[in-house]
Symmetry: C2
Subunit: 175 residues, 2 copies
DNA sequence: ATGTAGGTAGACAGAGTGGTCTACTTAAGA
DNA sequence: TCTTAAGTAGACCACTCTGTCTACCTACAT
């Protein structure tokens, strides 16, 4: 992975996440990153291709963080507690690696692209399934119902925190 | 409210909801509705103004439907049951007035516009607060915690149903 | 009969888009 | 020293977008 390629992904991810992928043009990514347009198109076939790379990057960072936060959780109670403690930190911008909280990058991006680019929405769905699978691994022997409930509640918390600018919503599930 | 104005709102709402507001141009709304561009700009100051009118229209329709579905619910149990029964119908496209399920129009639109137009995101937040207030009226004397939980779970269900194309998710909360 | 309100059709301006291409620069290895 | 790879700057193309404007067309009330 070249220096310039990573530089582009980092810059683009930051801009896409904070403004929405549709609101950010190639030229803005160019000028912000200080990388030439030709170089961008040497590494990425198209803007959509760059968006996909950003989704993958975000997925890796997010999963690494969440894995870490859930470490040691091995039943419904501890998983529930550690999950919402983690979300609370995220919502309150105490996780540098996730950048300033702007909702879920995957939900936001999927909402923007809908049917327009199936690869993008498919990757967003993949991400959510991976999160769900991770939770499942911690709910050792828990019921499918418990998993569904925990996952759905966390999705709702992310959306609510973003839309209602209620960064303390995760706290209300910690008691 | 003129005939043409309503016609524009209905057409635009349909296109915005199914494709995403950013993916739909004025010209598409014009040609689909059969109304002249000049007429559109006689009723709406801008595209954003039209989007706001669509959000208001959707809000009215959605709230009328939800009010109806929750009628008679007067405690946590009945509200919970009636809410997820309603969501299940919505997800499975059994509610003609809400059109084919495409996630929450307000979440999707807020995700697209983020900080770009504060009026739009503010209206999306307003909608969610109205839904929350409606739920609260049915949880007579219920705790704040119960309300938060119910609302958050329903938000999560809407997002999951859309992203994971899992239209039966609401059913898993009905047992 | 004529003026007016409300409409249509569509050309047009101005800005912005993604993406391509040429010409130039730099650094390193043979 | 010469070649090659990687990068820069930015002009440029073809296209799309919102929004404006002119010219024309009814229907109807005075």
């Amino acid at each position: 992975m070249t220096d310039k390629k990573q530089q582009l992904i980092q810059t683009a991810l930051h801009l896409f996440y904070t403004k929405g992928a549709g609101q950010v043009g190639i030229n803005e990514i160019i000028s912000t990153s200080g990388v030439a347009k030709k170089t961008l198109y040497a590494y990425f076939a198209s803007k959509d291709d760059l968006i996909l790379a950003c989704l993958r990057e975000r997925h890796d960072v997010f999963m690494a963080w969440l894995c870490d936060e859930l470490e040691g959780a091995n039943d419904i109670k501890s998983t529930y507690f550690q999950l919402f403690s983690a979300l609370d930190k995220w919502f309150n911008c105490q996780v540098p690696s996730l950048a300033q909280f702007r909702g879920c990058f995957f939900i936001n991006t999927a909402a923007e692209f809908q049917e327009y680019n199936p690869d993008i929405t498919a990757y967003c769905a993949y991400h959510k399934n991976q999160v769900k699978a991770l939770l499942n691994r911690h709910l050792q022997g828990g019921s499918q119902h418990e998993l569904e409930r925990l996952f759905t509640l966390s999705e709702g918390a992310i959306v609510s925190a973003f839309m209602l600018k209620n960064s303390d919503i995760a706290k209300s599930f910690l008691r």
